[in-house]
Amino acid sequence: MSKEWPLWEVFIRSQHGLAHKHVGSLHAPDAEMAINNARDVYTRRNEGLSIWVVRASDIVASSPSDKEPLFEPANDKVYRHPTFFPMPDEIHM
């Protein structure tokens, strides 16, 4: 067994936020202590209503080298953006 505690990613739903947002990471031996540690490290200023923790190793991430096939095809599909609707003057930013 490694002596190093596993890394956990911390997500917090703030007072007015609807979704949990990634706020950072920490080390803890298990989920219960990860929640306690998240409380002590990331909610010192009354930031949260709810905490999620997930082992960093359980997160599946896209590879930076996949950037082109994953994201570039969207670049020339401007019709996916709602820019073709006529907007009334009052709500123009």
Partner: protein, 254 residues
């Protein structure tokens, strides 16, 4: 001036203040960053409560002493904290055993004080109890992890429990001040906290695979008296560090 209430409030405030000072000495020395911050949070919670008790004590005394005057300009015999909180930090097992015993006691104490007939006492207790509920959760959890951990952590935790157990009797020993304040509905009789304290502590120690020391071990006559101003040598060192700046430069401010 209500002298008994004044002294009772000093006991409450001093217990918190000295423990906060002990924990404060560990800031930056925690075993890992997360634990360091958690312990610092606990220290600050308890210090905040000490400030409220001492401020109220100063008001009751009516001699113009504020929280700072009471914290920085009294000597050891005037401090009324239980001996448990002045025990040295030792290893982490000792720090956590001390914290665990205190937190559980603190929780039941505040629960009782929240019903005080003095609404200022009740308000401070009600505010503190939310913080202390978390302290209990954390120190109980760590007691189990250290007790039911490796052979070494188990041995250290058992030694810490055995050593500090002897200072827990004082937390439940009433004198005339406690009885007077309880009779007037302002405070509570400490003896009444013993049973719920023991029940929680037993559960946690058993889960931690630790041996619960004999009850009689908790009541050594020589290992109490802090709440009457009779302290161990250790308190002097705590005060020397805590009070040095205000003694050397009276009135110095941030």
């Amino acid at each position: 001036m209500d002298k008994t209430l004044f002294q009772y409030l000093l006991r409450l405030g001093d217990g918190d203040l000295i423990l906060a000072q002990r924990l404060g000495a560990l800031i930056g020395h925690g075993p890992i960053l997360e634990e360091d911050m958690a312990l610092a949070n606990t220290a600050l919670d308890i210090l905040g409560q000490a400030r409220m008790w001492l401020t109220l004590a100063g008001e009751i005394e009516g001699a113009g002493r504020d929280e700072d005057a009471l914290a920085y300009h009294r000597d050891a015999p005037q401090f009324l904290n239980p001996l448990l909180v002045e025990r040295p930090n030792g290893d982490y097992a000792q720090t956590m055993a001390r914290q665990f015993f205190y937190d559980v006691w603190h929780y039941y104490l505040l629960q009782s004080l929240a019903k005080s007939a003095d609404e200022r006492v009740a308000a401070i207790a009600a505010k503190g109890i939310k913080e202390v509920a978390y302290h209990v959760r954390r120190s109980s959890d760590l007691a189990v992890r250290l007790g039911d951990g490796t052979d070494e952590s188990h041995a250290r935790m058992q030694a810490a429990v055995d050593e500090l157990w002897r200072y827990t009797g004082e937390l439940f020993t009433d004198d005339e001040i406690d009885r007077d304040v309880a009779a007037r509905g302002l405070g509570c009789e400490l003896a009444s906290l013993r049973e719920p304290w023991l029940a929680h502590v037993r559960d946690v120690l058993q889960e931690a695979t630790l041996t619960v020391p004999d009850e009689a071990q908790a009541y050594h006559a020589l290992l109490r008296g802090g709440r009457q101003g009779r302290h161990t040598e250790d308190l002097g060192y705590v005060l020397a560090e805590m009070q040095h700046l205000q003694r050397a430069y009276p009135g110095a401010a941030w």
